[in-house]
C-alpha cells in the first residue's frame, strides 16, 4: 500500500509507478474489468436494438417524434446516481442487484440513441426512398435495403458515443455496491492509493477503446461505403476566403 507522495505529482507522470500491485491483484482487476464490460455491453446492445425501430417510427410520424425525443431528453437529464438509487423501488429489486444498473444504463442509452436514430433516418435522402418505392420495394425491404444502410454511418457514430458514455457511467454503480472497475476508485480513495485509481481509469479506457474498435470494424464490414460518405458529409468550404 503506497501513500501518495506529493512530490510525485508535480510533474506529468510519476516515476515510482507501482506495477507490482497490479500483478499481485491481477485476478481481481481482470474480474472487475470483465464484469464492467458485461455491464456495459447489455445496455449498449439493448439500447441500440430498441432505439432503431422506435427511432424509425418516430421519424415517420412527426407528432410522435417530438414526444419520443422530448421523453428521451428528460430521461437523459436525470442524474445517474439518483436513477440507480430509484431503480430498486421501481423494479422491486434489491438495491444491490446489478439489474438496476443495466436498466438505468439502458434508459440512458435509449435517450441518446433515440435522438440520433431519428436524425439518422431523417437524413436519408427522400429521393432514394421515393425511387425505391417506385421500383416496387415493400416497406420491409425498403427499410433493410435502403433506409438502414444509408442511415448507417450516422447510426454508427451515435453508437460509438453511447458506447463510451455507458462504459464511463458503469463505474458510478460501484457506490451502490456493483462489482465493476468503480470499486477500484472507491477502494483506492479509501486506502489513499492513487495507483489503484489510475489502473481503474486505464482499464476503463481500455474497454472503451476495444468496444470502439469492434463497433467501427463491424460498421466497415456491414457498410463498405461508409468511409466515403463521411468525407462527402463535410460539405463545401470557402477555403480561399478563410481569414484571408
Amino acid at each position: 500500500m503506497m501513500k501518495a507522495d506529493p512530490r510525485e505529482f508535480s510533474g506529468i507522470k510519476n516515476e515510482k509507478f507501482e506495477m507490482s500491485w497490479l500483478f499481485e491483484n491481477f485476478e481481481l482487476v481482470a474480474e472487475l474489468t470483465l464484469n464492467h464490460a458485461l455491464l456495459s455491453f447489455f445496455p449498449i446492445f439493448l439500447g441500440f436494438a430498441v432505439s432503431v425501430p422506435l427511432g424509425w417510427v418516430a421519424n415517420r410520424w412527426l407528432p410522435l417524434r417530438s414526444w419520443i425525443i422530448a421523453g428521451g431528453s428528460i430521461l437523459y437529464t436525470i442524474p445517474s446516481l439518483p436513477l440507480f438509487v430509484i431503480m430498486p423501488y421501481l423494479l422491486g429489486t434489491r438495491i444491490t442487484d446489478e439489474i438496476n444498473i443495466i436498466v438505468a444504463l439502458t434508459i440512458y442509452a435509449l435517450a441518446i440513441l433515440l435522438r440520433t436514430v431519428a436524425d439518422a433516418f431523417a437524413a436519408v435522402p427522400t429521393d432514394a426512398i421515393e425511387a425505391s418505392r417506385a421500383i416496387g420495394y415493400s416497406s420491409w425491404n425498403r427499410f433493410w435495403k435502403v433506409e438502414f444502410p444509408l442511415a448507417g454511418p450516422v447510426l454508427l457514430a451515435g453508437l460509438r458515443v453511447v458506447s463510451a458514455s455507458t462504459i464511463a457511467l458503469v463505474s458510478v454503480g460501484a457506490i451502490i455496491g456493483s462489482a465493476n472497475l468503480g470499486y477500484l476508485f472507491t477502494n483506492g480513495k479509501q486506502r489513499d492509493f492513487l495507483e489503484e485509481i489510475l489502473i481503474g481509469i486505464g482499464a476503463s479506457f481500455l474497454i472503451a477503446i476495444v468496444f470502439d474498435i469492434v463497433i467501427v470494424l463491424v460498421g466497415r464490414l456491414l457498410m463498405p461505403w461508409s468511409r466515403r460518405s463521411a468525407v462527402v458529409a463535410q460539405g463545401p468550404k470557402l477555403s480561399a476566403s478563410r481569414a484571408a
Partner: protein
C-alpha cells in the same frame, strides 16, 4: 409505489426545511449549496473553454483536436476522476478544503468538453456565405466573430452550456461521497440510516433540480435563437427547405439541439 408517496411526503414535510434540523438538512441549504457549486464550475469552464471553442470554429484550426478531445473525455469515468483528484489535491491542500477544491476541479474538467463543442459547433454552423460576405464588405475578423458568428451561434453555445450544467449537477451528487456537501449528502445519509423516504426523497429532489435547471436553459436557448441561425425553424418563403441535419452530424458529438459530448454522470 407506496415508497414514492412516502418520499413525496418526506419532501413536502416542513420539518425538513426548518433551519435547526440536523445535517444534512435543511433541504434548501443543500439545494442552494449544490447550485452554487454548479454555478462556479460551469462559469470557470465557460471562461476557459468558450473562447477556445469560438476561436477553433472561426479559424478552423484544431478541429481535429476538438473532436478527438471530446471523444476521449466522453470515456472518462467521472468517479475515477473525482477520486484521483481528491487524492492528488489532498496531498497538497488541507483536508477541509481538499474535497471542495478537488470536486470543483473535476467538475470544471467535466464541463469543458461540452462547452468547447458548443462554441465550436456554433460557429461552424453559421453559413459560410454569410461570413464570406461579411469579410468582403470589410469587417475585421473580430467584427465577423462578434457581429455575425456569435449571434448566430448562441443557440448551440447555450446548448453546450446546458449539457455541461446538467452533467455538473449530476456529478456533484457523486462528489458528496468525498464530502463535498450538496444534495448527494441527503441520499448518502439516507443510505446510512437505511431510511427509504430519505433515499428516494433525495433522489427525486436531485432529479427535480436537474430538470428545472435544464428547463430554464432550454427556454434560454429558444430565446436566443435568431432568424437565420442554424437552429431557427425553417422558413417557408419561396418554399426554401432547410434540411434538419447539419453537416456536422457525422460527429454526433456536435449535435444540433443536444450536445452529447460528455460522459453521462
Amino acid at each position: 409505489m407506496e415508497f414514492f408517496i412516502a418520499a413525496f411526503q418526506w419532501l413536502t414535510d416542513p420539518a425538513n426545511y426548518a433551519t435547526d434540523s440536523g445535517s444534512p438538512l435543511p433541504i434548501q441549504d443543500r439545494v442552494s449549496e449544490h447550485l452554487w457549486y454548479t454555478f462556479i464550475s460551469v462559469l470557470i469552464a465557460t471562461l476557459m473553454a468558450l473562447p477556445l471553442g469560438l476561436y477553433i470554429g472561426h479559424t478552423g484550426r484544431g478541429r481535429q483536436f476538438v473532436i478527438g478531445f471530446t471523444g476521449a473525455m466522453r470515456a472518462l469515468p467521472t468517479l475515477g476522476l473525482l477520486m484521483a483528484l481528491f487524492l492528488i489535491v489532498g496531498a497538497t491542500v488541507p483536508f477541509t478544503q481538499a474535497a471542495f477544491v478537488a470536486s470543483i476541479i473535476a467538475l470544471v474538467i467535466l464541463a469543458i468538453p461540452s462547452i468547447l463543442a458548443g462554441g465550436y459547433a456554433g460557429v461552424e454552423s453559421v453559413d459560410p456565405q454569410t461570413v464570406d460576405s461579411g469579410r468582403a464588405m470589410g469587417m475585421t475578423e473580430m467584427q465577423i466573430l462578434l457581429r455575425i458568428e456569435i449571434p448566430l451561434s448562441l443557440p448551440l453555445i447555450i446548448a453546450g452550456i446546458r449539457a455541461a450544467t446538467v452533467q455538473v449537477i449530476a456529478t456533484a451528487v457523486i462528489a458528496s461521497y468525498i464530502s463535498l456537501g450538496g444534495l448527494g449528502t441527503i441520499i448518502a445519509s439516507g443510505i446510512g440510516l437505511n431510511d427509504n423516504e430519505r433515499i428516494l426523497g433525495g433522489a427525486i429532489l436531485v432529479t427535480a433540480v436537474a430538470l428545472v435547471v435544464d428547463g430554464f436553459l432550454a427556454i434560454l436557448q429558444r430565446l436566443v435563437t435568431r432568424r437565420g441561425s442554424s437552429q431557427a425553424k425553417p422558413t417557408t418563403r419561396n418554399g426554401r427547405r432547410r434540411t434538419p441535419v447539419p453537416s456536422a452530424l457525422a460527429e454526433p458529438a456536435v449535435k444540433e439541439r443536444k450536445i452529447h459530448v460528455h460522459s453521462k454522470s
